[in-house]
Subunit: 227 residues, 2 copies
DNA sequence: AAAGAATCGAACCGATCGGTTCGATGTTGC
DNA sequence: GCAACATCGAACCGATCGGTTCGATTCTTT
C-alpha cells in the first residue's frame, strides 16, 4: 500500500497546484494503475482496485483522468516514452558493425524481455482487437521507431561498403527478430517465466550477429571475424 | 444470429444424446464463444454475449460447461489442435533443404499471421499474466511442437551433411522468427491490419531461407543456389 | 398420441462495475 | 489564524455481471 508521503518530490513546488495539476499526484495514480493493469489486464482491472493500489481517492482520480480508458491511454503513452531512447542510442556509438549490432541486440533483448515490458505487451495486445489504434500506436512509438533507427544505421553501412543488403527494411526486421529468437515469444506466452540470463541473451545475440554478417557482411570492416 | 436448423449434422444420430452430450450443440456453443472471445477478449466477453451469438440458451450452456473459464479453456484446447498438423507435415515431404524450409516457412507464416490465429494469440496473451498456464499450454501445444519438429529435421540434415549447425535448437528458433520477420509482430499489434499477401510472405521466407543457408549450409545438396 | 427428457428463455440473485455526489478533512497561501 | 481550495471517502446510481431457477416448449422414442 502506497504512502503518499513516500512519493519522491522532484523539487519544491512554487505554488499549490490547481485541482488535477499536481504532477506528484498524477504520478501516484499512474503508478498504482500500472500495477493493477499489469496484473489484471484492462478489463478485469477495476477503478476500485486502482484506488486501493494507488492510495488516491476515486473522486480524485476522476479529477485527473476523464475515464478508465483515459487513464489507460495515459499509462500506455508513458510506457512507450521509456522504451526506446537508450536502445537506439547504441547505434550512435563507435565500433565495428559486429560490435554495434551486438550492443544494440543485447540492449533490445534485455529491454523487450524484461518483466515490465512483457507485462505492457500483454496488456496492450489484450485490448488490440477492440482498440487496434492502441496496439498500433504502441508499436509505432516503440518497436517501429527502433526498427527505423536500425534501418538507417544499415543504410549508412551499405554506403560505407561494410554491408551489402538488397532489402534494408527486411534486414532490419530480421536482425530484430534474430536478437530475440527463442526469447520474446516464450516470455510473452509464459513458457519462460523469468527474465533471460545474460548468457542466454549473449548466445542469442552473438548468433544473430554471426548469421547477419554471414549473409550481409562484405568482409570490409564489419568485424564479423572478431566475434 | 445462428439458426440451430442450419447446424450441419455430421451424420444421423442413432439416439438422442443425454443432456450435455450432443456434439452438435457443443460445437454450436464453441463457435459462438469463439466469435465473442475473439472480438472482446476473455474479460469483456459476457455469457449473455455468448448466448446471443451462439443461439444457445444460457442455462443450456451451463449444462455443457461448468463456467465461463471452463468454456474458454475448452475453446483454447480446440484451437490448439488445429494449428500445427499441416505445417509440420511439410517437413516430411521430399525436396532439398531450401525447398522444404521454404514450404515450411510459408505455411508457418501464412497460418500464424491468419486472422483466426492472430485473434487467438491476442486472447491468450491477454490472460497470460493472470493465467500463465493457459499461455504456456497454448505455446507448448502449438509453437513449441512445430519448433521441435523443425529441430528434428535440422538434426537429420546435420547428420546427412547438408547443414552444419552448432546449436540446432537456436537455429530452429531463428528460422521460425526469420520466416515471420516483419509480419507477426506487426499483425498482433494491428500495425498491419490484414493478412499478408503471398508476395510478402514469399519475400520474407525466401530471404529467411537464403540467410539460413548462408549461415548453416554446407553447399552439399541443401539447394540454396536454386533459390 | 403419450411419455420422457433436452432445451429454452424469462426472471431472479448477490455482487461488482464505472462513474457521480457531497460533506468532511487536510493543505497551502496570505 | 483564516480563507480558499485540493483531496478524501462514504454513499449512491443505473447497469451489467456470472450463475441459478423453473415452467414452457420442443424433440425423440415408443
Amino acid at each position: 500500500m502506497r504512502d503518499p508521503a513516500d512519493t519522491p518530490m522532484p523539487r519544491r513546488r512554487r505554488r499549490k497546484p490547481a485541482a488535477g495539476e499536481d504532477p506528484a499526484k498524477r504520478a501516484q495514480i499512474l503508478d498504482g494503475a500500472r500495477e493493477v493493469f499489469a496484473r489484471l489486464g484492462f478489463d478485469a482491472a477495476s477503478m476500485n482496485d486502482i484506488t486501493r493500489e494507488s492510495g488516491v481517492s476515486k473522486s480524485t482520480i476522476y479529477v485527473y483522468f476523464a475515464s478508465k480508458e483515459d487513464l489507460f491511454e495515459a499509462l500506455l503513452a508513458q510506457t512507450r516514452e521509456r522504451l526506446l531512447g537508450e536502445i537506439t542510442a547504441e547505434l550512435d556509438r563507435p565500433g565495428s558493425v559486429a560490435e554495434v549490432l551486438g550492443r544494440y541486440g543485447r540492449h533490445l533483448a534485455r529491454t523487450i524481455c524484461s518483466e515490465n515490458v512483457i507485462s505492457a505487451h500483454r496488456t496492450v495486445i489484450g485490448v488490440t482487437e477492440r482498440r487496434p489504434e492502441l496496439g498500433r500506436r504502441f508499436y509505432q512509438d516503440g518497436g517501429r521507431r527502433g526498427m527505423e533507427a536500425l534501418r538507417s544505421y544499415l543504410l549508412r553501412q551499405i554506403a560505407a561498403g561494410t554491408l551489402s543488403i538488397g532489402d534494408p527494411e527486411l534486414a532490419a526486421y530480421q536482425f530484430v527478430e534474430l536478437s530475440m529468437a527463442g526469447l520474446f515469444r516464450r516470455r510473452v506466452m509464459a513458457h519462460m517465466d523469468r527474465e533471460p540470463e545474460d548468457a542466454e541473451i549473449d548466445r542469442t545475440v552473438d548468433a544473430a550477429v554471426a548469421m547477419f554478417l554471414a549473409s550481409y557482411g562484405t568482409g570490409k570492416g564489419a568485424g564479423g571475424a572478431e566475434i
